[in-house]
């Protein structure tokens, strides 16, 4: 590793980042090689969407240039190639999450649709008046609103696991919320606004002990850590392709076979049927029962390439490198007078969310952008989190394995310039 990209020479950091050639990895991401407002792009918004390696871009291009056809049922060569490539992603997703069976992986548009599929199909069938759904205080709107809609429709209650000032869930309070009326515990694996890694295995075990099912929002976890749905014993687990370096508009919902089999279809249409007459339709088996209509074929193929890419890098190596980067960033930002980190959980991934005294996040965002630094500002689709910390918004720098220690330094220098403007 060049000294430019890694000015840190402490033993721990050197150990974690040894052999992780970030400069070489950056060559795989064409978008990173550009200037913004005359400065090299420093992309610190991967929690919103991750950048795409050539492997993904090429796979999508190859599909459109060489294999393009609709999938399933086609007997011609192109259709068979498309089908094989698309279905291969299902197998790759099975390995990525270590699911038992590839039929437990359903293609969806993203995490949001995955959650909506569960609330619409499982929820409508299984949740009744006075039943309870448990979510947490740090959920993204996508894991709040669908459950709220379901509760409203059924007269069920939404209960919320509270958190402490560091942004950690209060497990004793969670235990108190569980009761025989609890049908579902839906929580995020990693918080998009705070970076907190939740003790998801413990959360799932406690839910099961109370007789409830679990849905885990894996949108922010899958880009950063190994997920094993069997070891976790998660009932449902959803993630988005575009956050794991794949394209937008494609994602995966994992569900246990026996749950999926018992659920009614989510949408009706082609591809989700066995026999259709005007009197009656027999639905297809899982996963196709939940996949009506022509899907995002190119997206599915791109996602497969993205999962391959992440696997080749090694998700554990990615996690170790990012951990060192996050520790360095946390330390560096803490040194800036007037800056307060929002989200200081002991277990964190990828996210540096903060506010600065007397300077609104939106102004910080604009001023950083003029220096080529892309961060996100706002409520991060987690308004209840902002309310809890009593801030209107935060500035969020989110990291991926293609970020460098030098880029953290650029962020710090950029924030000092922001302070100068508002001095």
């Amino acid at each position: 590793m060049s000294t430019l990209s890694n000015p840190v020479s402490t033993g721990a950091t050197a150990g974690a980042t040894a052999g992780f050639d970030v400069e070489k990895i950056r060559q795989d991401f064409p978008v990173l090689k550009q200037n913004i407002h005359g400065k090299p792009l420093v992309y610190l918004d991967s929690a919103a969407t991750a950048q795409k390696p050539f492997a993904v871009i090429d796979a999508i291009r190859r599909f459109h240039e060489v294999d393009c056809a609709n999938i399933h049922r086609g007997v011609h060569e192109l259709s068979q190639r498309s089908t094989a490539a698309y279905e291969e992603t299902r197998s790759k997703a099975r390995r990525f999450l270590n699911a038992r069976n590839k039929n437990e992986l359903i293609f969806v548009r993203g995490t949001t649709e995955g959650i909506n599929l569960v609330t619409s199909s499982w929820g409508r069938k299984n949740v009744q008046e006075d039943d309870e759904i448990v979510i947490s205080a740090m959920e993204h709107h996508s894991n709040i609103v669908p459950w709220q809609m379901l509760c409203q429709e059924k007269g069920a209650k939404l209960r919320v696991i509270p958190m402490n000032d560091r942004g950690e869930l209060l497990m004793e309070e969670y235990q108190k919320l569980l009761n025989p009326r609890t049908r579902m515990v839906a929580v995020t694996h990693v918080s998009n606004a705070l970076g907190t890694i939740n003790p998801i295995k413990q959360i799932i075990d406690m839910a099961h002990a109370a007789g409830a099912l679990t849905l885990i929002d894996g949108a922010q976890a899958t880009p950063h850590m190994k997920v094993d749905v069997q070891a976790l014993d998660a009932d449902f687990y959803a993630f988005s392709g575009h956050k794991v370096f794949g394209p937008t508009g494609i994602g995966i919902l994992y569900g246990k076979t026996k749950l999926l089999n018992a659920m009614p279809p989510y949408q009706g249409g082609g591809d989700m049927i066995k026999v259709v007459t005007f009197e009656k339709t027999t639905y297809a088996d899982i996963p196709y029962k939940f996949e009506a209509g022509t899907p995002n074929i190119a997206g599915g193929i791109g996602l497969g390439a993205a999962l391959d890419y992440a696997n080749q890098l090694g998700i554990d190596r990615i996690a170790a490198y990012e951990h060192a980067l996050l520790a360095y960033g946390t330390e560096a930002l803490t040194q800036i007078p007037g800056l307060r980190l929002i989200g200081t959980a002991r277990e964190k991934a990828s996210v540096l969310s903060f506010v600065m005294e007397g300077i609104h996040p939106h102004d910080i965002g604009t001023l950083l952008d003029r220096q080529g630094i892309a961060v996100r500002t706002g409520h991060h689709c987690a308004q209840p989190v902002m309310d809890f910390f009593n801030v209107p918004a935060t500035t969020r720098a989110s990291l991926a394995f293609y970020n460098t220690f030098g880029e953290i330094d650029a962020l710090v220098a950029g924030l000092h310039k922001v302070k100068e403007v508002f001095a």
Partner: protein
């Protein structure tokens, strides 16, 4: 670096906003909210014989939205309702089009840099949208401060 956007006068008004207080004897008031960045603003207007005799605001927002509210309150006093709405139109034009800058805008021309930052147009127009709503709904009783 970005002095085209954050001009001295904008920074000054964002740090020391003018007419930033509630108004017990306002005849009109309206709330403005920008869900994108969480900016909140409460606008108080006192209209007598169709003339805007006083304007004030309270709220929290970014530098652009605070300065815009502050400068707006200064530029409205003494204007008729019609003139105020006309100014809003010209201000909106300043931010969203490439047309020549109107001389009627006075100090408000400092916001001309915003047109190069489409994402920030909403910040600069929040107070003005709130003004439009305040001027179009009359309240019978003066508002009370909370």
């Amino acid at each position: 670096m970005v002095h085209d956007l954050y001009q001295e006068i904008i920074l000054d008004h964002s740090k020391r906003p003018r007419n930033c207080h509630s108004m017990p004897d306002a005849t009109r008031q309206a709330d403005g909210y920008n869900p994108l960045c969480g900016d909140k603003l409460k606008l108080f207007v006192k209209v007598e014989n169709d003339i805007v005799v006083d304007v004030s605001f309270v709220g929290s927002g970014c530098a652009i939205s605070t300065a815009s509210a502050s400068l707006m309150t200064e530029s409205l006093k003494g204007k008729t309702r019609q003139e105020a709405l006309k100014l809003l139109e010209k201000f909106h034009e300043l931010l969203t089009t490439d047309t020549a800058i109107s001389q009627d805008l006075g100090k408000l021309v400092v916001f001309c840099g915003v047109r190069d930052y489409p994402a920030r147009v909403k910040c600069a127009t929040l107070a003005w949208h709130t003004l439009k709503s305040a001027l179009s709904t009359e309240i019978a009783e003066p508002v009370t401060t909370e």
